[in-house]
């Protein structure tokens, strides 16, 4: 069973970019909010990797990460952020994030990190 990738970002441009990079290789689900992501994960049990933006308008990415890792510990979560901060990175790692990508990112980076984390 091929696993799906969930993209969580409130920026349409970023969602579209990730779609462009990944859609040829994986099946994708897109959502623009943390709440949306949690709602989707309740029903979709074939999600292997989540690409999660940290700075979103409503719920903070790290809170969403915590929630996902509590409810779905098997799913690998990769954080996407514009901040290159050691604190956020280590906090994300502590909460169980499998990877950390800093914007602006390259297509290869995304493909490599997703491939590594898909089971």
């Amino acid at each position: 069973m091929s696993q799906k990738i969930l993209i969580v970002d409130d920026e349409e441009g970023i969602r579209e970019s990730l779609k462009l990079i990944l859609s040829d290789h994986y099946e994708l689900i897109l959502t623009d909010s943390g709440e949306g992501a949690l709602e989707l994960l309740k029903h979709a049990n074939d999600v292997g990797v989540v690409l999660l933006d940290i700075k979103m308008r409503k719920v903070h990415g790290l809170d969403v990460l915590k929630e996902i890792k509590t409810k779905h510990p098997k799913i690998n979560v990769i954080m996407v952020t514009g901040y290159k901060s050691v604190e956020t990175a280590s906090e994300a790692a502590r909460l169980g994030a499998s990877g950390y990508i800093v914007k602006p990112f390259k297509s290869e980076e995304i493909l490599t990190i997703v491939e590594k984390n898909i089971t």
């Binding site: 920026e11 349409e12 441009g13 970023i14 579209e16 970019s17 462009l20 990079i21 308008r57 514009g82 901040y83 914007k103 602006p104 990112f105 390259k106 297509s107």
Partner: protein, 542 residues
């Protein structure tokens, strides 16, 4: 009432000068050297004031006693001076200092009980005063330590002023030395009539006051003895002018004496001429001193200083501004990363998908959208970073609001928003209409955008004695209490296409107008912005 002859006057002036220096060191002094220097000056002041009384009395016995007392105090002048010099120059001279104080005490004892060893008595000199006469045979042996200490101390200061590695200390030592030499020459010149030089009228005692003048200069200009004085400019002026003026009077008195002795003149007409000259010279002289003091001590005239302060204030304001811009710019850099990422990715896929028309369409759409966003962010940032200088005029705020509402009418109609306006006040505020328009526009746009479907927008003005209030109330979705704190933070936004700069700019503009902006909000009920701006009161604001 004392009738002061010129010499007494000069001695009085000398005494006050020394008290002035002693006062500064007593008030601002921090260490042993400071306190000792105060004692030195008190000693000199005591010596001089006793001379004032001694040369003013008509009773020869009293004059003799006063002279003896003056010298009993005066004997400590070189002793304390040497003590100070030894501290200042780091001399290891403990034994000499102790010996000097013992010498002082012995001299005092001899003065009290064996007067004739030191003095012959008083003679009436210059047709005006009783002057003490040294016992010439004993002068050198009895005063040898006095003379030795005075020379030795100044010699040591001289050496120090040449050899000290510290430039500031060398400078201080120079003042110490110059003051010391002039002071000693002035002070010891009073010995000359005591030693038989009966034609020498010792007005040169003001040399001691000269020493005080140079000491004052050294204190304020070079922190003499590391003394830090927080002083008022006006006090320095007054004291310096007073000292120079007194010096002037003494000089005139000398001239009078000279003319009296050699030419003979009418005292009244001469005094009138002298007063006239002083009157003519006083104002330019005073101005010259003020400018000199300004430049020497304060590095500028009051006008230059106030100009410099204005510049400093402007610099502070722009520094403040730069700080906000720095915050804005760093946030902006972060905001721009999103469109850059998108543009990058789409550009990256262009070669491989150049035949995919759906992609090309999407690409065009996305790139335009993202560059538009960057453009929007930059425009907002620039309008914040470089606002045009405000042109303030007396205006009615409701007129500004009406102008904006005209622009927003169509939008409100479409959204079924009812606008309720009440402008009971007709008062004026002092404001820049363009800036205020921008401030209100941002707030009104937020209000309109917060109303989901249909709703109300209530605009009310009111005023009290000093301020004008504008309330903008909407029936929108409201702001959560934890977000309410952040609404004036740059780039905080809840809107899909918001930049998060609107309210930052509004707040900045209102603050420019010395106003305040407050916000109250209840989620699902609405938000109220209250802007207060000082009222324009004719005359008060002009």
């Amino acid at each position: 009432m004392l009738k002061l002859n010129p010499f007494a006057l000069a001695a009085l002036f000398t005494s006050f000068s020394c008290l002035w220096i002693a006062g500064i060191f007593l008030i601002y002094g921090k260490n042993t050297l400071h306190r000792l220097w105060a004692i030195f000056n008190l000693t000199a002041a005591g010596w001089a004031i006793l001379i004032v009384f001694a040369v003013s009395t008509k009773n020869p016995d009293r004059a003799l006693n006063l002279w003896i007392f003056a010298h009993m105090i005066g004997i400590y002048v070189p002793i304390v001076f040497f003590h100070c010099a030894s501290i200042f120059c780091n001399l290891k001279a403990k034994k000499l200092i102790i010996a000097a104080y013992i010498y002082g005490i012995l001299h005092n004892i001899v003065s009290l009980f064996y007067v004739t060893i030191l003095y012959q008595g008083v003679t009436y000199l210059f047709d005006s005063m009783y002057y003490i006469q040294f016992n010439k045979a004993n002068f050198i042996p009895s005063m040898s330590l006095w003379i030795y200490l005075a020379f030795y101390a100044n010699y040591k200061i001289f050496i120090f002023s040449k050899n000290s590695p510290n430039k500031e200390l060398r400078k201080q030592a120079q003042f110490f030395l110059i003051g010391g030499i002039i002071g000693y020459l002035g002070g010891s010149s009073t010995f000359l009539p005591m030693l038989g030089f009966s034609s020498f009228y010792p007005l040169t005692i003001v040399g001691v006051a000269f020493y005080c003048l140079s000491n004052t200069y050294a204190i304020f200009k070079h922190s003499f003895f590391e003394l830090v004085v927080i002083y008022k400019q006006s006090i320095v002026y007054s004291i310096l002018i007073a000292m120079v003026f007194l010096f002037y009077v003494v000089a005139v008195l000398v001239l009078e004496r000279f003319l009296q002795d050699f030419i003979g003149y009418n005292s009244l007409s001469m005094s009138i001429v002298v007063s006239f000259i002083i009157g003519l010279l006083f104002v330019p002289f005073k101005n010259w001193i003020q400018n000199y003091v300004d430049n020497a001590f304060l590095k500028g005239t009051p006008y230059q200083i106030s100009e410099e302060n204005t510049l400093l204030r402007q610099e502070l304001t722009s520094a403040d501004k730069l700080r906000s811009i720095a915050i804005l710019a760093s946030s902006l850099a972060h905001e721009i990363k999103n469109p850059i990422t998108t543009i990058n990715t789409f550009a990256d896929f262009l070669p491989s998908k150049q035949n995919d028309s759906a992609f090309l369409n999407k690409c065009r759409q996305t790139l335009l959208h993202e560059t538009n966003r960057i453009q929007q962010l930059l425009t907002q940032l620039l309008s914040f970073a470089k606002p045009s200088p405000p042109v303030f005029q007396a205006i009615r705020p409701q007129e500004i609001i009406e102008e904006i509402l005209l622009l927003l009418e169509h939008r409100c109609d479409k959204q079924h928003i009812k606008i309720i306006k009440t402008y009971p006040t007709q008062e004026l505020i002092l404001a820049d209409p363009n800036q205020l328009k921008q401030a209100f526009l941002n707030i009104l746009l937020n209000a309109i955008e917060s109303i989901p479907q249909e709703g109300r927008l209530i605009i009310t003005t009111s005023s009290n004695a000093t301020s004008y209030f504008i309330s903008i109330q909407d029936s929108g979705i409201g702001i959560k209490s934890d977000e309410l704190k952040k609404i004036f933070d740059p780039f905080f936004t809840n809107k899909e296409n918001g930049t998060g700069l609107g309210l930052v700019i509004s707040q900045e503009i209102i603050h420019h107008h010395n106003g305040k902006i407050n916000v109250k909000s209840t989620p699902n009920v609405g938000t109220e912005f209250i802007i207060s701006i000082p009222k324009y009161i004719k005359g008060a604001n002009d």
